[in-house]
């Protein structure tokens, strides 16, 4: 046994001595045996309760983790899809307007602008919100 090991051993003993009162409460039986068992049983009950609480928190944690990864992947994808779809419709309206301008066709220009304002004034998030409500309601949707 080296001197270093002896020093470590001394440190540990010091540590135990420092925390002595706490440990002795549990480990050293007092004169009253009933009191000792009472303390042991309290510690056991406390352990059970804490263990249950930890399990509950951990299951909430797992659920939330799963929800975070799945939910947001889905919403980000959906959002991109919605805006991509609207972009196509907007490009079509631009085409109509440009065609109307080059042909000097007033009706085409007005029609193009009208369809443009209709697309833009419809909220892209309305469907997203309906979908969110539907998903959160746990309803079964018939397809």
């Amino acid at each position: 046994m080296s001197e270093n090991d002896i020093q470590i051993g001394k440190d540990i003993v010091k540590l135990i001595t420092k925390n002595g009162p706490k440990i002795s409460k549990l480990e050293v039986p007092s004169a009253n045996v009933f009191d000792f068992f009472n303390k042991l049983s309290n510690a056991y009950t406390e352990k059970q309760i804490t263990e249950r609480e930890i399990k509950k928190i951990e299951s909430q944690e797992r659920l939330l983790c799963l929800e975070i990864t799945k939910k947001y992947d889905f919403y980000f994808h959906l959002c991109k899809h919605i805006f991509a779809e609207r972009k196509v419709a907007i490009a079509k309206s631009f085409e109509i307007i440009d065609h109307g301008i080059s042909e000097k066709n007033n009706d085409l220009i007005t029609a193009g602008l009208k369809s443009l304002s209709q697309i833009v004034s419809s909220s892209p998030f309305a469907n997203l919100d309906n979908l969110r409500k539907l998903l959160e309601s746990d309803k079964i949707v018939d397809i």
Binding site: Y72, I101, T110, V120
Partner: protein, 315 residues
């Protein structure tokens, strides 16, 4: 020494010490994830802020362009205004003009209120350009509540300002969540030499982990809302610009058709209307004017389009 001490603690705590260490390591990793997520939201917020400023600027330009309609409409008489638009079946010219004038008046009010100020999103001009004040159906997707702000002004301030103006936003919430636990491992791991005590610490760390996860969830939601808002602004920016260009193009065309010799044409029309009590505009002119009013009506809708409601929710 460290390993020996750990081994000793494990013996005393019946293996719970290692569990606590693992939990703390998980927690630190989660805390790092939260910091990265906050950083992502902050970066996207800055991008959206620039987009919002560009949209406010575009709307200002559009409003000034729309005002040109007054150069033509000011000479329309009562009779001309009652002419019913064939495309906008239930609307007379008067109705169209009234809606256009309303857009101009509200926009001019906001521009005057912000005179001398930059086109920031948190100015009166920003509010006019971005916030709906007439009860448009909200989608329920809130940006304000996600960023810690509760109303539109706070939302705009969040976009317009730096992280310090977050009003208790993600960064601040994150710090609160994490603050108390930095000292947990050192003090607790050394002090907790019995099973129940360490188990309680494990419970505390688990709670902190759950809290951090909830904060990550909030930050993810904020990221989604900010990104969606960014896409929406891109859409409005492109379409409003196109509508402005179209309007200006058609305005020039109509103006040239109505006043082919500019000032001389105006004098001629004036004399004709005064001397012969004829209409200032000919039927052909009215046809052209009708067209530019139709274009202006659609252009106005785009200018009036807002992105958030009074409660800071996406529209």
């Amino acid at each position: 020494m460290g390993e020996l001490l750990d081994g000793f603690k494990n013996v005393v705590t019946l293996g719970k010490h290692n569990q606590l260490k693992a939990k703390l390591s998980d927690y630190r990793k989660l805390r790092k994830d939260l910091r990265s997520q906050i950083q992502v939201v902050e970066e996207k917020r800055l991008v959206v802020n620039h987009k919002l400023e560009a949209l406010v600027e575009e709307k200002k330009k559009s409003l000034l362009a729309l005002k040109k309609i007054k150069n033509i409409s000011k000479n329309l008489r009562g009779k001309d205004r009652e002419f019913t638009n064939p495309i906008y079946k239930n609307q007379t010219v008067a109705v169209q003009l009234s809606a256009i004038n309303k857009t101009i008046a509200i926009g001019e009010g906001a521009i005057n209120a912000s005179k001398g100020l930059a086109c920031g999103v948190s100015t009166a001009l920003g509010s006019w350009a971005l916030v709906s004040t007439y009860g448009t159906a909200s989608t329920g997707i809130a940006i304000g509540t996600l960023s810690g702000a509760t109303a539109t002004n706070a939302t705009l301030a969040w976009f317009g300002g730096g992280a310090l103006s977050a009003g208790g936003g993600g960064m601040a919430v994150g710090t609160t969540v994490l603050g108390g636990l930095v000292v947990v491992p050192a003090i607790i791991a050394l002090a907790a030499l019995n099973y129940v005590s360490v188990q309680k610490k494990i419970r505390e760390v688990s709670r902190a982990k759950l809290k951090t996860l909830r904060e990550i969830d909030n930050q993810k939601r904020a990221e989604l809302a900010v990104e969606a808002l960014g896409d929406r602004i891109d859409e409005l920016l492109v379409t409003t610009k196109k509508a402005r260009e179209t309007f200006l193009h058609e305005y020039k065309r109509v103006y040239k058709a109505v006043y082919p010799y500019n000032f001389i044409s105006k004098i001629f029309k004036y004399i004709r209307s005064k001397l012969f009590e004829a209409s200032y505009f000919t039927d052909k002119d009215l046809g052209h004017i009708q067209h530019i009013l139709n274009v202006a009506s659609e252009f106005r809708i785009l200018i009036d389009q807002k992105v958030i409601d009074e409660t800071g929710r996406l529209l």
